[in-house]
Amino acid sequence: MRRWALLWAALLVSGCAGAPPAPRQRPAPPGRQEAAPRARTLSEATRQARARLEALRRGGAAPPEPGDDLVARYEDLLRRPGTPEDRKPEILLRLAELAFERETEALRRAYEGEADIPPRDRYVNTVGYYERLVRRYPDSPQALTAFYNLGYVYGERGEVRRAAEAYREVLRRDPDAPYRDEIHMRLGEVAFDDGRLEEAAAHYRAVVEEGKEAYRAAALYKLGWCFFNLERYPEAVEAFHRVLADADPSREDLRRETLEVLSKTLLEWGGLPALERYLADHPEVADRGPDLYRKLGDLFLDASRYDEAVATYAAGVEAYPTSALCLEMERGILAAYRIRRDVEAAMTRRESWVRRYGPGSAWDRAHAGTDLAAERDAMVEEGLRLAALYRHGRAQRGQGEPGRALALYRAYLDWFGDGSEAGYEMAYRYADALREAQRFREAADAYRRVAEREDRRNRREDAALRRIEVLGRLVEEDPSVLDEWIESHADFVRWNPTSPRVPEVLLAQGDRLLAAGRLEAAAAVYERLRAGHPASARAARSWGRTATCLFRLDRYAEAEAAARKALAAAADQDERSRARELVVFSVFKQGEAAEAAGRIDEANRHFLRLVEEFPAAEASRIALYRAAEDLRKAGRDREAAELYERLARTYPGSDHARAALLLASRIHEGQGDWVRVAQDREALLWGSSEPAEAADALFGAARAWAKAGRWDRAADRYAEFARRFPHDPRVAEAWVGRAEALEAGGGDPEPAYRAAWETPAGGPGAYHRARAALALARRRLERFRAVELRGDLEIRLAEKETLLEEALAWLTRAAGVPFADVVTEALYRAGKAFEHLKQALLESERPEGLSPEELEEYDFLLEERAFPLEERAVGFYQKGVAVARRAGTVTPWVERMFVRLEALAPWAYRRPELAVTAVDPPALPPAPEAER
């Protein structure tokens, strides 16, 4: 650091105002002091020397040309014996000056030729002449000048010590020499360069305290440097301050340099606090404050002390908010942040610019209309733009609130408008930010403003599309913007008629209209899409939508046509599937419409072509079912049944198939076509996986086969039912059904009846158990009746009575169940059996060979035996009637028992009732002229 400071100091000294004079400004020759007033300064001495040289030239000797001739003539003059000795110092002085000019020129040319002359080789002749002069003529008046110039030239040759000796010799010879201040300055410089700072400071202080005014400021400046290098910062600051406090306008350059070094000093002394302290202590230099802040900030920045740089700049801006340097300090802040890669801080700083420098701010008022204001605009425009984009980007990444970006965009647009290219872009970005902040209403309007611009178009398409998007989001919250949303599609097309996205937007517009139920309008948009962009893939896809519109408008035939076009144009399986579905539904709806209008045949034509073309469609099943239903409702049962069965064949196992089979079987039932009923039920059985459903189907099939007189099948099905569903409540009924079928078919029903009786006594099967018992009784009664009382009466009678007993046992079992019809039938049959036995006895074959008396006696005995049988019969009948009375029910068997009771006990039961007719009084006869 110290070495740096020294280097700085050397450079400054070499270029400062108080630098040593050029060699040609030599002092006047000491021998002519009487001829001319003593020069007070080095430059004055030079002028006097030139004047004397000119006088010499006019005196006869041609003035030496700058070249060898002149030097040679002066050398010759020296060598001549006649040359007075007292003139020789002057000649030597002149030769030194000529040599100086020639060697300076040579040095210049060497520099220009990019060559270099080592310091020791410089000014060789010049030094030679001066040294000859002071050595041979030390007391000559020219010796003082020679010493002074030697000091200078030694300095130029890097011979600092010899230079200092020369200067000191000048001061020794003449402490009040006119060049005293200069020499102090030179000595100060030499001491400074040698690092003898205290000595240098003494030389500078001599100038400051006693020197001329012209040198004081420079001496203070150098003194400050000495203190700086001696790390005596308060004294350095004080020295520099005295320079700054100098109001002489001619020394502004020095003051600017002082500001620089003062800034360095403050940097070393403590940085920002030192500066603030300095400014607080010296309010008279407050106008230098912004400079100092800025320079200190710069130093921190150069020293990579970025935080302190930022703090210093920021403090400067805060302390001098209206300063012209604020913008530079802001740039400094940004530079520090940039180097430190602290983008966030940089953007935050930029965000503050609106407040600091925006319209209406103090800064703005201070610099309105100036070039600086324009500079401010450029800087803030860029800053705000960058900050807005940065904040927006962060918000998009979820790293910040979108509100900051929105505020920056808004501020930008308010300040700079959207007229420029950047402003246009910012307006678009602003709309984006509004959209991302879900402020859809504002976003839509912002996008609209961008899209509507006639002078700029690069964002037009995007903005128009985004507008559609945000209105779409908005409409979810506010349905009242639906129209605007839909219209936004049309706007897109109007603003971007040649955009390749027009088909897409038109399709979307149609979809929106479709979703809004504006079917006619939607269909028109799709039509427009196809007309305007026939080759577009979306035009092809629009057919499906058109079909949907027409379908929903109940224009099913047109919908079908459109859907078929969609089907033909379908690009993938999904579209094909949807189009096919539309065709299916359209055809189905045509059928349905015809059905609603009562045009059954037309409806069926549609339904059946649907089935033919799309047999796999779910709707086809329904269509077939509906077609059958229509026919059934129209009373065309046979055709209906055909369709039902077709449905069952085509779609076996489906719900519709089951329902269809059931309905078909019912139709066949109604028509008495029991074979087909049975077939349908069996088809139901094969297609059913549900046990309960299978049981129903099997049972129904068995019953239908029985009704069809196909006893073998009926018996098999009933048996299968009993086997597969032994716990079904209908198992007793099934056994009875099987028994009846076997009986009707000539088979042996006994095991089946017995199996029925063996089923559980409780539950719904009890009735059929009773029926089975009745049947078993009936079969025994038939055999009982078949036994004729011929031949051996006792044996035959015993046989008959045995059968009767068996029958009565089964009848008793049957009568034991709580079913009035079964009980009354059992009692009726019992009564009839006894009546039969009585009659059989009375009509039995009479033994041969009986006399009339014996025969009479035999008949009497028979009657005696038969009469109680009739009483038993009457008893069964009366019991049956009583049972019915108690049960409160009447069965046909009761009526039959009443009939038998009327026959067997007429006194008690024959009661003819009286039906009466009514007679109205004879009405007036019709008038002869009455209408006939």
């Binding site: 009375r885 009466v916 009405a923 006869p925 019709p926 006939r932």
Partner: protein, 361 residues
């Protein structure tokens, strides 16, 4: 004035006051005309007839009657005066006076068919058929028809048949086929009744009376299907015919269609619940369906409609005894029946059986 007479006088006054607007005075048809104004005393019978007609047309029936009486006082054979008086009296609901006035017309114009018809119709409305039918005999074919019609209503089937046969043979005699068929049916002349019914439905196919007659005849003949269709046609032409509906139900019961008969009878009851025939037959229809308790209730309704209605009493007793086994109640019903018809030995025997079985319990 004695208090009893005063009370009856006051009562008559009160009744008169409560009877609503007082009708126009209806002077009795006397031979002597009342005294009228001086000017009126100057008028002749033709003017009085003209005044009577004008008053009748204006609806001033009292004045019309007065004027007609003045006219026939002055000219007793002026049939028009009698006719105007008859019409005016009919208009004032003086049916008896009107009938007598129409008789006056008939006396003066024996062949006046309108007068005969009016006389017969009023006689029927007044329930005076028995005393009226003979008055119409010997007055021509039309009068014979009306005489037969009145005789039929009076239950004189033989006379009615004879008179109506005369009438149907005359000009415009077709109108008498239905009454003639009724008369023959009453006499048990089923063939003649069938002939008349056939003639009636051929000549008057839109007359429900003719179809009703045909149904009745066919039912009596045991032609159930024919009777049923005839009754159904009658009811189609006039759904309000009670007799046709009840008799249709009887036919249905005979055909074993008790449920359908029940529906028909309930329709008849709905139209005329106060007549017992439909209730009785409804009991039979319900009993035939084994609904004994409901049948007993229907019989009781018949007896409510007409207490002592013998068919219903008999059927209710049978229902209690035979079908419901409620012997004691059966005995009570049989007792009521026998009170009204003590000579019915069969029912008396049933009563004994019921009583014995009631004791057995």
């Amino acid at each position: 004035m004695r208090p009893a007479r005063l009370v009856s006088w006051l009562l008559a006054g009160l009744l008169a006051a409560c009877a609503g607007p007082r009708p126009a005075p209806t002077p009795a048809p006397t031979r002597k005309a009342p005294v009228l104004g001086e000017a009126a005393g100057q008028l002749g019978p033709a003017q009085w007839v003209a005044r009577a007609r004008a008053a009748f047309e204006r609806g001033e029936y009292g004045r019309a009657i007065e004027a007609a009486q003045r006219a026939r006082t002055q000219a007793p054979d002026l049939a028009e005066a009698w006719r105007l008086e008859a019409r005016a009296r009919e208009a004032t609901s003086d049916l008896a006076g009107a009938r007598e006035a129409w008789a006056g017309v008939m006396d003066r114009l024996p062949g006046d068919a309108g007068a005969v018809e009016a006389y017969a119709r009023l006689s029927a409305r007044l329930g005076r058929e028995a005393e009226s039918w003979q008055g119409l005999t010997g007055r021509g074919a039309v009068a014979a028809g009306w005489a037969g019609w009145l005789a039929l209503r009076a239950g004189r089937a033989d006379e009615a048949s004879r008179l109506l046969e005369t009438a149907v043979g005359a000009e415009e005699g077709d109108r008498w086929w239905v009454p003639l068929g009724r008369a023959r049916l009453l006499r048990g002349d089923l063939a003649g009744a069938a002939e008349a019914a056939q003639a009636a439905v051929e000549r008057w196919p839109r007359d429900p009376e003719a179809w009703g007659l045909r149904g009745d005849v066919a039912r009596e003949q045991g032609l159930g299907a024919e009777a049923r269709s005839a009754y159904e046609e009658a009811l189609r032409l006039d759904p309000g015919r009670y007799a046709a509906r009840v008799n249709l139900a009887v036919v249905l019961l005979g055909q074993g269609e008790a449920a359908e008969a029940e529906a028909v009878l309930r329709e008849a009851i709905g139209r005329e619940p106060g007549r017992p025939e439909a209730w009785n037959d409804l009991g039979l229809a319900l009993r035939s369906q084994g609904r004994y308790a409901e049948a007993a209730e229907a019989y009781r309704k018949a007896l409510e409609a007409r207490p002592g209605y013998l068919p219903a009493l008999k059927n209710l007793g049978i229902c209690y005894e035979k079908y419901l086994g409620r012997q004691a109640e059966a005995v009570q019903v049989y007792d009521r029946y026998l009170d009204l018809s003590p000579d019915d030995r069969e029912v008396a025997r049933w009563r004994k059986a019921a009583k014995r079985r009631a004791r057995e319990r």
